[in-house]
């Protein structure tokens, strides 16, 4: 009876008493305050504050350094004004005559306004959507394929999207066209993989992985082909930079375009998170436990692919996040997908925020994200592996 409640409920049940007791103990036996705080907030929950803190930090941190308090004011008052403006025009439209709601006084200049609302805000939101999305998709795929070495592009979505983007760059160069083409080919690649899986293996996950390898290398060859015929002074560098991944050109419109599919896919994975456990123990056992494994597989593939394709089409190819963040999540909360899915999203969002901060501030020129995720992530992961025993590496 008691054992399941232990970690969560004990703290939740009597927060006030715990806090008082803790304060007393701090003063009595001289426990350092930060330790006391850590004991009060378990790591599992504290982690949810991480992206929030990083978000506000990233908002004033950058080449154009802003005052934190001023940044807050711009963000909050600016947002409020935005809402009031929106409400005014809505009311005007509904009532048929002009309505002007009062708004707060604007105490900041146009450059701050631009930095916060046009440059940093969309970029940070994009980093969180892409990082969290890739991590959640990676975690689901690792469960679906019963393999902790799987990343979201196992079924060829990144190679497909890369080819789509390269074609878009070659044919038009319009960012909108590039994004749509990347998204379309990313989905197409996975559809082909799934077709191979169904035709050959009746949906067996092993054949799906093999199909992913086939489709992935096919689209990689197509990418090489587009590079080969691209103009070496103009379109070739554009393709290469796109493939290395970056969030430097993300606009508000981009965020508005990709947020719904990423959030919808994430919501879908979040809702079925406990069922991913069942797929992770094996297809036959899952069947015997009453799971419609075929339908579940399709749901996971569609949700993860929509997330990954949406992420990749605004950010370019960003490796590593979808593979490693779920591992770090498992080190923190264990393999149960009930906790792993939300924690992966949180960690992925935080990780990409940090990496993107580095990308835009370290040097005068932007560093491509794909390079940094590996440069930062690989040593960090190696360090974690030496620190903590992992269940599947004995």
């Amino acid at each position: 009876m008691t054992h399941r409640k232990e970690p969560i409920m004990e703290i939740g049940q009597e927060p006030r008493n715990a806090a008082i007791g803790l304060l007393r103990s701090v003063f009595r036996d001289g426990t350092p305050v930060h330790e006391a705080v850590l004991r009060l907030i378990p790591a599992e929950k504290a982690i949810y504050l991480l992206p929030v803190a990083l978000f506000f930090f990233s908002l004033f941190f950058g080449r154009y350094m802003m005052d934190p308090v001023e940044t807050f004011r711009v963000l909050i008052v600016g947002t409020a004004n935005g809402f009031l403006d929106g409400a005014s025009s809505l009311l005007s439209a509904v009532s048929g005559h002009p309505v002007l709601l009062p708004s707060f006084e604007q105490t900041w200049g146009a450059s701050e306004e631009t930095v916060v609302f046009r440059i940093r805000l969309p970029r940070l939101i994009a980093a969180m959507l892409v990082g969290g999305g890739l991590a959640i998709a990676g975690a689901s795929f690792q469960g679906l394929f019963k393999n902790p070495l799987v990343s979201p592009d196992i079924l060829g979505v990144s190679a497909g999207a890369g080819f789509g983007a390269a074609v878009g760059i070659l044919l038009s160069g319009n960012p909108m066209v590039i994004q749509i083409s990347a998204f379309f080919f990313g989905i197409l690649a996975v559809a082909v993989t799934y077709g191979i899986g169904r035709a050959v293996g009746k949906g067996s996950t092993l054949v799906l992985v093999l199909g992913g390898i086939i489709v992935g290398s096919l689209f990689s060859a197509f990418i090489s082909l587009t590079k080969y015929i691209a103009d070496p002074y103009d379109t070739l560098p554009a393709i290469v930079f796109w493939l290395m991944g970056s969030l430097s050109t993300v606009s508000n419109a981009d965020v508005i375009a990709v947020a719904p599919p990423i959030l919808l896919g994430a919501l879908c994975l979040y809702l079925v998170r406990w069922r991913i456990n069942l797929l992770a123990v094996g297809e036959e056992e899952a069947r015997a436990l009453g799971v419609d494994t075929k339908r579940m597989t399709v749901v996971l593939i569609i949700a993860s692919t929509v997330i990954t394709a949406s992420a990749v089409c605004i950010s370019g190819i960003i490796g590593w996040v979808g593979l490693v963040v779920p591992h770090i999540g498992r080190m923190l909360v264990g393999p149960d997908f009930r906790k792993l899915i939300p924690v992966s999203a949180i960690l992925g969002a935080s990780f990409l925020l940090v990496v993107d901060d580095i990308a835009r501030t370290l040097t005068a020129a932007e560093i491509p994200l794909g390079i940094l995720t590996s440069l930062v992530g690989a040593p960090f992961f190696a360090y974690l592996l030496t620190r903590k025993k992992v269940g599947w590496i004995s």
């Binding site: 399941r4 019963k146 998170r273 406990w274 456990n277 123990v281 056992e285 419609d292 009930r338 599947w392």
Partner: protein
Amino acid sequence: MILNVNNASFSYDGITKQFEEISLSLRRGEVLSLLGRNGTGKSTLIKCILNILTLQKGEVEINGRRVAGMRPDEIAREIGYVPQTHRAVFPFRAFDFALMGRAPHIPTFSVPGEEDCEKVEEAFARIGIAHLQDKCISEISGGESQMVMIARALAQEPSLLILDEPTSHLDIGNQMKVIATIDRLAADGIAILMSTHFPDHGFLLSHTVAILENGRLIARGPAEDVITKENLREAYGIDVCVRYVEEVERMVCIPMSPCGCRGREEA
């Protein structure tokens, strides 16, 4: 009758029959041991009963309903399945692992609640392995993992429990623990179908024994009638000795020394 298998036939490719015209039935609290050589189709038959594979001919009924027309979760509420072994990829906690047995009782977009956790705790306590709840399934022994899988199947609250060679990977002590557990569950009224490689287990706990050979049941009935020299020679191609042993107060079945084995006196 909890389980009824009528004239079941199955083949993977439509040409070579894995088995044909199999008929079985199981009452509440009855234990049926399924014997037969490796590869003779015991596991295939089990998968057909679970409706993971679809029969070519015949039908399987569970509590009067045909499994062919049931959804996977409906079947899982009636039949608990314990596979031979579990290959752990992710190191789930034994409790969380057994909690998965609640899946057929939980809506797709939902997670297990308080009541489900209590059911799983009951299942652990019922077979005496409460101490394993917080262990990692990748770190426990084969015998313990078998017991955890039984706990998971019990969490399904099934009326029929199917075990695929539950003792094949276990040492003799753990074998007896699992057998004793199965016997106790049967006494509580669960119908049990298990495949096994040890004819002796038939005498230990079965009410009924069936021998599958070459795709057909060559014998079916009470253990004393089925586990005979003749039947086992036909099924396994070896000679066995079946006799009553005073000290253990039951029939036993042990293989005779096959020719070529030198035995003890020469060692």
